[in-house]
């Protein structure tokens, strides 16, 4: 079945440093979504990418969808303590058209 892999599993940065998490799918995706889960909270939708090579920005967050629609990345510029949490990618595709979540990247920020 479809697998979605995310790296790194953990990332600790100093406030102000940049952060990137990468997502790779075993199959071509129809679209990819990104969610953020604060410690003790529930996943909250950030964005959806649909087109090959698509790049979207939300303030300090930049999301990219690969040309082959099998990989994606989330980049945060100048991290802040409010960015702390786990970032999940979720790929939509496969023969059964299922949304599959990666294991997430836990970001911690040292003030």
């Amino acid at each position: 079945g479809q697998q979605v892999m995310q790296i790194p599993q953990y990332q600790h940065v100093q406030e102000g440093e940049d952060f990137t998490t990468y997502c790779n799918s075993s199959t071509t995706l129809s679209n990819i979504q990104w969610y953020k889960q604060r410690p003790g909270g529930h996943p909250v939708f950030l964005i959806q990418l649909v087109k090959s090579g698509e790049v979207k920005k939300q303030k300090r967050l930049t999301f990219q969808f690969g040309e082959a629609k099998k990989n994606s990345s989330l980049h945060i510029t100048a991290t802040q303590t409010t960015d702390v949490g786990t970032y999940f990618c979720a790929g939509f595709g496969g023969s059964n058209y299922k949304l599959t979540f990666g294991k997430g990247t836990l970001l911690t920020v040292n003030p």
Binding site: H42, P43, V44, N96, L99, T100, G102
Partner: protein
């Protein structure tokens, strides 16, 4: 507008006991999902409903888990009997439809089986 509502937030039971979780999705959302989330892992789909029909229950352990969505609105997820390995957070989510993207998650129900 109210979000996805789940109850209970926390449940502690002994193994072999039954447990049930309830979810009320966002009004008008046809698609409802139950996800399982273990510590340090991403959500894993248990079952997806389109209105009252379970259209994807391939990952639901049917020997002990059951779910229903009567009238296509609220849903319940039941485990009977619970095992130690069932300790996890059970997340309910809803969306306008399966193809429209954004999932709205509830706060989750944290189950501890002793």
């Amino acid at each position: 507008e109210a979000g996805v509502v789940q109850s209970p937030r926390y449940k502690i039971i002994e193994k072999k006991q039954p447990v049930a979780f309830w979810c009320n999705p966002i009004s008008g959302h046809n698609t409802l999902y139950w996800y399982l989330q273990n510590l340090g892992q991403g959500p894993e789909l248990l079952i997806r409903y389109e209105n009252e029909e379970a259209v994807d229950d391939s990952q639901l352990p049917k020997d002990r888990f059951s779910a229903e969505r009567l009238k296509g609105v609220d849903s319940t997820l039941k485990i009977q009997p619970a095992e130690l390995g069932d300790s996890a957070v059970y997340l309910c989510a809803s969306s306008l439809s399966h193809n429209t993207g954004e999932l709205f998650f509830g706060e989750g129900s944290r189950l501890t089986v002793l």
